[in-house]
Symmetry: C2
C-alpha cells in the first residue's frame, strides 16, 4: 500500500460497537424488569435520534460545551417522559444512561484492531467522552493505543477542529491518518481536513430490517466489510 | 484494601521510564557517531534540568501553551549551544529530540501494569504530550487504558487543574484515583486535590551514584519498590 499510513482513527458508535442491540438489551433489562413493555429496538432508535440535534446545539454555540454523557442523559429524560416512564430513581437513570458504556463491538473488531495495531497507531476518534470510551474499551477488550475525540478536542465531529486536533495531538500529518467509519458524513468531513478514508459497511447498525444504500465506493480510499478486511488490505 | 480505588494515574518520566539511561544512550548514538565526546549521563541530566524552568514559564503564563516536544526542543537547542555542537541538521535535531519518545520502562513496569489493569483503569498522567506518550508506549509495550496529561488538560503538573481535569475526564471521584509517582511533589499536589497516593522508589532515576533520601513513608497511602509490589498490595 503506497499511502504510508501512520495512524488509524476510528469512529466508535456504529463503526466499532453495535449501539442499537446494546441499548435495546440494556433498556429491556432495566425497564422491562419494572414491567414496562416497549419495542426496545425502537427505544434505542429514538434515543439515538436525539443525539445529532443535541450535539448540534453545542456545535452552533447555542449551549456551552457538554460531554456526551450529559447530552445522553438529557435525551434520556426526554425519552422517558415521551414514554410516560416516571418510576426510575436518579441512580437508575444514571445506570441506564451508562448503557452507552456497555456496548459490544461487532465480531470482527477486537481481532482486527489487534492486527492493525501492530503496524499503526489505533486511536478512538469519537464523539463519546473519555470516561465512556474507557469504560467501554475495558469491558469489551478494545485495545486502543489512545483515546481522542470530542472531549479532548472540545469539538464534536464533523466540526473540522475534531479532525485537526486529533492529527495534531498524534503528531501525524493528516495525510498519514486514515479515518475509519461507517458513516459517509464523518469520512467526508475527515477527507476535507486531509485525512485518508476507509468506509466500513455495517449493514445491521440500524437494525435487521433497514435497507441501506451503500455510498459510491470510489469516494473512499478503502471500502471494507470489517476490520479484518481492513487489516488484510493494509497488509497487517 | 479498603480504599475502593477505580483509577490509577501514573507519572511517566522517572516513574514508568528510565529517562536518564535512555537519553544518554540516544545522545551517544547520535552525537557520539559524529565524534562528539561527552559525559552522556551528565548530558541527560543537563537536558532534564531545563525541563521544570521551561514548564514554569507556561504555568505562570509568561508564555502561551506549548507541548513538551516543543519545550524539549528549545531546551535541546540551548544545550547544544552550551556544548558548542553546531553540526546537526534540523532533521537530526528533531530525531535527537524524539529520544524522549524512545525511553525504556523500568523492568517491573510492563508486567506490573498488566496486572494492575485487570482491576483498575490505568492512565498516563504525564507532562508529556500525547504523541510522545503514544510513541513511547507502542515502542515499549506499555499497556495504558488511556493517555491523559498536560496536553489534554492544558495544564502542567503540579498545577491543580492537571489532576482535577484528569479525574473529571475519567468520571472518577478524586478519592478513588491513586496517583503513582516517584516524586513527592507530584504526590503532594495530587493529594491536595483529593487523590490517594503511591510513592514508587526509583533509586536509579538520577544515576547510580546519587544518594537519595526517601520521603517519610507515612505521607503516602503506599510506598513501594515497583509496580509489581503495588499490584501485590492492591491484590491484583
Amino acid at each position: 500500500m503506497s499511502l504510508d499510513l501512520r495512524a488509524l482513527t476510528f469512529d466508535v458508535f456504529g463503526t466499532v460497537v453495535d449501539w442499537r442491540t446494546g441499548i435495546a438489551r440494556e433498556a429491556e433489562a432495566i425497564l422491562g424488569a419494572r414491567g414496562h413493555a416497549l419495542d426496545w429496538g425502537a427505544f434505542a432508535d429514538r434515543w439515538r435520534s436525539l443525539y445529532q440535534p443535541a450535539m448540534e446545539r453545542v456545535r452552533t454555540g447555542e449551549r456551552p460545551w457538554a460531554i456526551l454523557d450529559v447530552l445522553h442523559r438529557e435525551n434520556l429524560l426526554h425519552l422517558l417522559e415521551e414514554k410516560a416512564i416516571g418510576d426510575l430513581s436518579a441512580d437508575e437513570i444514571d445506570h441506564l444512561n451508562r448503557a452507552w458504556h456497555r456496548l459490544d463491538p461487532w465480531p470482527d473488531v477486537v481481532d482486527g484492531l489487534t492486527r492493525l495495531k501492530r503496524r499503526h497507531i489505533v486511536a478512538a476518534l469519537s464523539n463519546g467522552n473519555v470516561a465512556l470510551l474507557v469504560h467501554m474499551s475495558k469491558r469489551a477488550g478494545i485495545p486502543w493505543d489512545v483515546i481522542l475525540g470530542a472531549e479532548v478536542a472540545r469539538a464534536y465531529k464533523p466540526a473540522p477542529e475534531a479532525y485537526d486536533r486529533a492529527a495534531a495531538m498524534l503528531g501525524v500529518e493528516p495525510g498519514r491518518c486514515l479515518m475509519v467509519a461507517a458513516h459517509p458524513g464523518d469520512l467526508a468531513a475527515a477527507a476535507a481536513r486531509g485525512f485518508r478514508t476507509a468506509y466500513v459497511r455495517r449493514p445491521l447498525e440500524y437494525g435487521p430490517d433497514k435497507d441501506r444504500a451503500w455510498p459510491e465506493v470510489k469516494s473512499w480510499d478503502f471500502s471494507v466489510a470489517g476490520f479484518d478486511e481492513l487489516a488484510e488490505r493494509l497488509g497487517c
